[in-house]
């Protein structure tokens, strides 16, 4: 399986990725093969989405497996540094220095990403403009609302025009209008880069993502296009209840849209397969 890694110079190739935190297994032999476009990473809370994003962001080391980002092997120091120059990462949670303005914060990250100094001022303004905060460039980050601070986080991820953009719960804290604007921005970014968006909001994926990867208990439960997941929901029986599934199961809420039903159906099929495999 691990021999599948190709020589592509873009996207994400992951083979046999396993991450263990002490005794718990966060990711279990994950295989991924993603190219340019917007990819949704869906799954229940605690499924391993953040663990996966952090490994792809080169922040956390994998326990096992091979990871190739933008055609480079991130276990080698030189290649990892090259990937980091072309990477954008929005963590699920991040802090900032109390005195920073939006401009200083994003410039600081641009400096950390080793962007050429002459291009930084304009790149910063453009990134902040893209997330709709042009009017707040010189406001202190601590005076901004939660949704605005989240958008500053998106701006710092965008500032180097990354070829690989990793966003962990980017829509958390955004109001519905901002969410709509953000999804439009995602589609624009996905035209030229590989964008991976982790979210627990199925409708984020439905609108903005071309491809979906569903993760459950550290394993890939489903991979396909957004359309095929929606189709799955069209054939699934929305009234069926998932008896014996964990408490965080999506079955407990009544799914309304086809893609939500597709999500539920895919998750249930995966769990049934896992249960059968254990017997």
């Amino acid at each position: 399986m691990s021999a599948r890694i190709g020589a592509a110079t873009s996207g994400v190739r992951v083979a046999g990725l396993t991450v263990r935190h002490r005794r718990t297994v966060a990711l279990d032999a994950v295989e991924l093969d993603l190219d340019t476009g917007v990819h949704g990473l869906l799954g229940p809370n605690g499924a391993g989405k953040t663990s996966l994003i952090r490994v792809l962001a080169t922040v956390a080391p994998p326990t096992e497996g091979r990871i190739e980002l933008l055609g480079l092997d991130i276990s080698a120091h030189q290649e990892r540094t090259e990937v980091r120059r072309r990477l954008g990462y929005l963590p699920q949670e991040f802090g900032y220095y109390p005195g920073f303005t939006v401009r200083e914060f994003v410039s600081y990250v641009a400096w950390l990403k080793e962007m050429p100094a002459h291009s930084v001022p304009r790149a910063v303004e453009r990134a902040v403009e893209r997330v709709g905060l042009a009017g707040r460039l010189d406001a202190k980050v601590k005076t901004l609302s939660g949704g605005m601070a989240r958008r500053v986080g998106i701006a710092q991820a965008l500032v180097n025009e990354p070829d690989l953009l990793l966003l962990d719960e980017p829509t958390a804290g955004l109001d519905p209008e901002q969410r709509v604007e953000f999804r439009a921005l995602l589609r624009e970014l996905g035209a030229t880069s590989t964008v991976i968006v982790s979210t627990h909001l199925v409708e984020d994926v439905a609108v903005a993502c071309g491809q979906v990867t569903l993760i459950d208990s550290g394993r890939v439960a489903y991979r396909g296009t957004t359309a095929s997941l929606t189709e799955l929901g069209g054939t699934a029986d929305p009234t069926a209840s998932g008896a014996g599934s964990p408490a965080d199961s999506p079955q407990t809420s009544s799914p309304s849209s086809p893609i939500e039903r597709g999500y539920t159906a895919a998750l249930r099929a995966h769990r049934d397969a896992v249960t059968r495999g254990k017997q």
Binding site: A60, F94, K113
Partner: protein, 288 residues
């Protein structure tokens, strides 16, 4: 030519008069339409019509728009001054309580020496001085110390390079400040056993590099704590029965003399080598 779908043959062109009438809006509508169709595919006529329009009432308006667009597009974006960049590079320690602690230690020791005439103020300063940069390193880098850590760790500057930059900043502030405080201490003739003001530099450097090297295994915070506590224990514990006078004597044994200083220098070099070997271990934050 098939594109001339209007009533004109392809060899028809716009003359000056037609262009002028089009520009001031007095051309009949069908004429204006065929002119517009024609200039989509005929460069010279398009240029003639364009020149005519610019000479008319629209000219000044277009000029203004052009100037406004240019002003917007070529405006130099605000630059962040280089002083701000220096402070960023210095990291969180220099912005926080650590700087205050260094200033208080240096000032406090001077105050004790001059204000209260305490002879052991100088040995106390020398005993604390090597531990202060360690605290600065612990507060400079890592998940516990840096609110931006998760973002920093995904950038090419993250890891050992940023740690070294911040360590350098910590040393650049603490070394001159603490050494100057030591040099300003009263030169009392009664305490010949107190080492010179610069005697702590090599031990301080060795302990700092050792913190980084040990930090590559157990994280900088833990390493700084262990080595700082170890240093203070070695200095203070044997001198405990004879405090405060015994402190100077104990310090002298630890830092005075070419042999001892050479030992500290060797330790710094060894730890530096170990750090170089372990450099990529700072790339992943899990242990930091």
């Amino acid at each position: 030519m098939s594109h001339g779908q209007g009533r004109h043959h392809a060899d028809w062109h716009v003359d000056e008069q037609q262009a002028r009438r089009y520009a001031d809006g007095s051309a009949p509508e069908p004429d204006a339409w065929s002119l517009e169709t024609h200039i989509e595919s005929c460069g010279p006529c398009a240029a003639r019509v364009s020149a005519s329009v610019l000479r008319g009432a629209a000219g000044p308006v277009l000029d203004q728009v052009r100037m406004a667009v240019l002003a917007q597009a070529t405006a130099a974006p605000t630059r962040v001054p280089w002083t701000a960049r220096m402070v960023w590079a210095a990291g969180p320690a220099l912005r926080g309580a650590w700087l205050l602690a260094v200033v208080l230690t240096a000032g406090g020791a001077l105050g004790l020496a001059y204000g209260m005439d305490l002879a052991w103020a100088h040995p106390l300063l020398l005993a604390l001085a090597p531990a202060l940069p360690l605290a600065g390193v612990a507060l400079s880098y890592g998940r516990h110390a840096d609110p931006l850590y998760e973002i920093v760790a995904a950038t090419p500057s993250g890891g050992l390079r940023l740690l070294l930059t911040r360590t350098a900043a910590v040393l650049a502030v603490s070394v001159p400040l603490l050494t100057a405080a030591g040099a300003l201490m009263p030169r009392a003739g009664d305490s010949p056993r107190v080492p010179g003001a610069a005697a702590w530099l090599l031990p301080g450097l060795a302990l700092t590099v050792a913190t980084l090297a040990l930090g590559s295994y157990i994280g900088c915070r833990l390493a700084a704590g262990a080595l700082g506590a170890g240093w203070l224990a070695v200095v203070l514990l044997p001198a405990l029965p004879a405090l405060p006078q015994g402190l100077g004597e104990q310090l002298s044994q630890l830092v005075t003399g070419p042999g001892v200083q050479g030992g500290w220098a060797a330790a710094a070099v060894v730890c530096g080598g170990l750090l170089a070997v372990r450099r990529s271990s700072f790339d992943h934050m899990e242990r930091l």
